[in-house]
């Protein structure tokens, strides 16, 4: 192997994970996982240098072929399978991986290495003929579209012409092979090594796809960055009784409790767990069928959490009793879990308070601190539906939008109940404090509008029949003006007014806020205390209060560079006002953020700017304290 190409193609075991510029984000993460000693399906990375040369010359450098051969041979030795071997075929995935997140590029080709000969080998290995042929169908669709640029609709039509039985899938394969040949003028390569070369070149070429170029212009990304290609062995969770696939978390992502948590599906492959089409089991199922793999998984969870110093999730496959870690990353979590994990990690000595603060987004605490229906109240549950927009609301029933507007105009808290919503309901939805519908789910118009207005909503309530004169929840019938309570977080509807209480006080939140106070210099004022304003590091008399983006822009245009902008975002225009104010604050102008009643809608996508001060209403002061500390600890961000 020539020395010039040695660094162009590197194995996961033999690279510097810090070299993201050449390995790409995905590649660097795999190298990092190997460095941690995790059992990652073997593979190699073709660096961004090669991409640049490919784009310059219009073809792969010749020496790359030999380097790929050598690395492929290593993978084959490790797994005891060979690319193109009809009896024990090695299959690989080919993915793009740029140093920065890059939409518009070719993403992934799975199961490369399948051909007319090897598909039978896969069928025998998995004892699942339809599965093997389905993999072949998917490969041909991906290959035809991504590598040969054939219209996806035509490919899908050819793929779905027949049944899901092996015979039908065989017919699909034949139509797809014919279609690829006809449309691209060349047959699908039965030579599996040629498949790989074509796929690698297609990834590189996709760096210059119109959509990728457009994104680079938009995001200001250098055209010369290039992408790396990650080639990795496929592993299978459907090879017999000691196989399966799952996802595991180092701590419970819902509560933050310090015990591993996850889903496992025996005898399943890849997306089955994620797709949610199957009832998945717990990690105990993994322990039962593959105790050694489970022990390795437990170790792996420990290792990744220590490496990231944060709660992590691992996607994994168990193939014939052996654990393979496919991906590990910092895990998503609820607001409650975020607070618990951050404070416990301070106690465990894993992170310091400053870092803990940066891990809590104000919107996480916001939902945590929002009033909830009193869990101890004696109340009558009358309906259950889809939790379409979070939060709780209580009030009186309105069955038509005009009734909702009239009642709201009189100062009544209103819950609008409709069979479903039409555009002429929107005014009523705005007037109401909460929304209930009989039909539709999380993506219904009602749900989209409710979330857009930050109104709690329960949609698609089972058994609810609504007319303009009454709403029948099974045996309970409600009319205009009757009392009702809804919980949009849990999807529950109650008769009567259930008292709303602050959620059970969480000492962890208090701990965190104390840390916030000792880590911020940005002053926090409460609105009821105007003396604080007067003493602030700005001229309160010259303050310009802005509620919309237009207000901010007008204030900036006025040219008064000494004025202080006070951002008090209104409900509908909040995010735009905050975005404009962030610009001003990042430009060094004094900007004060006022945390008021409409904060929830505005704060959801709040960037952290170097605010001059934060002003809060009393009940919002926790959000203000966190916001002030986070802005300072994390530094300016956003646009």
């Amino acid at each position: 192997m020539a020395t010039t190409t040695r660094a162009d193609v590197v194995s996961f075991d033999d690279a510097d994970p810090g070299d993201v510029g050449r390995l790409g984000g995905k590649g660097a993460s795999l190298v990092e996982m190997r460095r941690l000693g995790l059992s990652v399906p073997p593979g190699f990375i073709i660096s961004t240098d090669v991409c640049r040369r490919y784009l310059h010359d219009g073809r792969l450098p010749e020496a790359i072929g030999a380097a790929v051969d050598a690395h492929l041979a290593d993978v084959e030795r490790t797994l005891g399978r060979r690319l193109g071997d009809p009896d024990a075929p090695l299959l690989v995935s080919v993915r793009s991986g740029a140093p920065v997140s890059m939409p518009g590029m070719m993403d992934t080709i799975l199961d490369l290495g399948l051909c007319d000969e090897t598909v039978d080998g896969l069928a025998r290995a998995t004892s699942d003929e339809p599965f093997a042929w389905d993999c072949y169908v998917r490969l041909l669709v991906a290959y035809g579209s991504i590598v040969r640029g054939i219209d996806a609709a035509a490919l899908n039509a050819a793929a779905h012409g027949s049944s899901d039985e092996a015979d039908g899938l065989r017919r699909s394969v034949r139509s797809l092979l014919a279609l690829i040949d006809e449309r691209s003028g060349r047959p699908f390569p039965q030579d599996t090594r040629a498949q790989l070369d074509e796929a690698i070149a297609a990834v590189f070429a996709s760096w210059d796809s119109p959509r990728a170029k457009k994104y680079r212009t938009y995001a200001g990304i250098d055209d010369d960055l290039g992408t790396a290609v990650v080639v990795q062995a496929m592993v299978f969770g459907n090879l017999g009784e000691t196989s399966g696939t799952g996802v595991a978390f180092t701590r419970d992502p819902a509560t933050g409790a310090r015990s591993s948590y996850g889903d496992f599906l025996a005898g399943a492959q890849g997306d089955d767990v994620v797709a949610g089409e199957h009832d998945v089991g717990s990690l105990d199922d993994c322990r039962a069928i593959a105790p050694d793999a489970f022990a390795d998984l437990t170790r792996a969870l420990d290792v990744v959490e220590r490496a990231h110093r944060d709660m992590c999730e691992i996607e994994f496959t168990v193939e014939r009793g052996r654990l393979w870690v496919l991906q590990s990353r910092v895990g998503q979590r609820t607001g409650a879990a975020a607070v618990r994990i951050a404070t416990e990690m301070i106690s465990e000595g894993v992170i310091d308070p400053a870092e803990a603060i940066t891990r809590i987004h104000p919107s996480a605490l916001l939902h945590l601190r929002a009033p909830v229906l009193d869990p101890d109240a004696h109340c009558e549950l009358i309906g259950r539906g889809v939790p379409a927009s979070p939060g709780s609301a209580v009030g009186r029933v309105a069955l038509t939008p005009s009734r909702a507007e009239e009642m709201a105009a009189d100062g009544t808290d209103v819950i609008l109940i409709r069979p479903f919503t039409s555009p002429d309901d929107v005014a009523g939805m705005i007037a109401a404090g909460g929304i209930v519908t009989a039909h539709g789910g999380r993506t219904s118009h009602a749900a989209v509008v409710a979330r857009g207005m930050d109104r709690p909503a329960v949609c698609g309530v089972t058994g609810l029949a609504v007319s303009d004169s009454e709403a029948r929840f099974g045996s309970a019938t409600l009319r205009d003006g009757d009392e009702i309570s809804i919980d949009g977080t849990r999807g529950a509807v109650y008769r009567g007014i259930v008292s709303r209480v602050a959620p059970a006080s969480d000492p962890r939140v208090e701990t965190l806020l104390t840390h916030c106070d000792s880590h911020r210099r940005i002053p926090v004022f409460t609105e009821g205390d105007p003396t604080g304003w007067a003493d602030g590091p700005f001229d309160a008399t010259a303050a310009i209060v802005c509620r919309t983006r237009e207000d901010v822009e007008r204030a900036l245009r006025s040219g008064d560079r000494d004025a202080t902008l006070v951002i008090s975002p209104n409900e509908s225009d909040g995010p735009a006002a905050i975005a404009a104010a962030t610009h001003a604050a990042n430009g060094g102008l004094p900007v004060i953020v006022r945390v008021d009643r409409s904060w929830p809608a505005a704060v959801r996508r709040l960037p952290l700017a170097p605010w001059t001060a934060v002003v809060a209403t009393d009940e919002g002061s926790w959000a203000a304290r966190l916001l002030a500390a986070t802005s300072e600890v994390s530094g300016p961000k956003g646009q």
């Binding site: 709201a408 555009p423 005014a427 989209v448 509008v449 735009a576």
Partner: protein
């Protein structure tokens, strides 16, 4: 113009005269005269709530609109608009799913936000073809195409309210209205076809 005014009010619930003038593409003076006449007939009224002010239908106006739209529903219109509507429904799920995922994106996910807007642009291209076909049957559908294009332009210019914002003519707002218009024009039933 009478039907156009009644129809616009039926779709939007409550509309300020300036916005109504844009929807029915008439000068404000002529529209004012028409609204006054319709108010005298008891079909429309001017309403003011703390949050909104504008014209809306009276119950009699609702009834009249129902009669007129049924009268306009000729077999020719139904048969030529039905395939158009089926195309619209196929896109509808994508728009709703895209709107939902947009609302769940985080502030720092620049690539995700860009991708969502791009995908919306793709949906718009398909939608434009459908709405232009619809405009061949009933010219008012052309205005939805124009309003969707404007929402997309605003969004691309960086005003993120124009994706799912409720109080602006966002893509979702216009889409929602267009769906309702098709449903009413064809006399469909949301419950029966399960599109909410």
């Amino acid at each position: 113009m009478t039907f156009d005014v009644l129809h616009a009010l039926r779709l939007k619930g409550i509309v300020a005269i300036e916005a109504l003038a844009e929807l029915v593409e008439r000068p404000i003076d002529a529209l004012q005269a028409e609204l006054d006449r319709l108010a005298e007939e008891g079909l429309v009224r001017l309403r003011e709530t703390p949050r909104l002010a504008g014209w809306s239908l009276t119950p009699e106006g609702h009834t009249r609109h129902g009669q007129e739209i049924t009268g306009h529903r000729t077999p020719e219109i139904v048969s030529s608009l039905t395939p158009v509507y089926e195309g619209f429904l196929r896109l509808n799920d994508r728009v709703k799913a895209l709107s939902t995922s947009w609302q769940q994106l985080t502030a720092d996910d620049q690539a995700g936000r860009w991708e969502a807007v791009e995908e919306l642009g793709e949906v718009h291209e398909e939608a434009a073809a459908i709405l232009i076909a619809a405009a061949g049957v009933l010219p008012r559908f052309r205005s939805y195409e124009r309003r969707l294009a404007t929402a997309l332009e605003q969004l691309r210019a960086g005003d993120e309210r124009f994706f799912t914002g409720v109080t602006v003519d966002s893509f979702h707002t216009v889409w929602f209205e267009c769906h309702e218009d098709l449903i009413q024009t064809l006399g469909r039933d949301r419950v029966q076809e399960g599109s909410f």
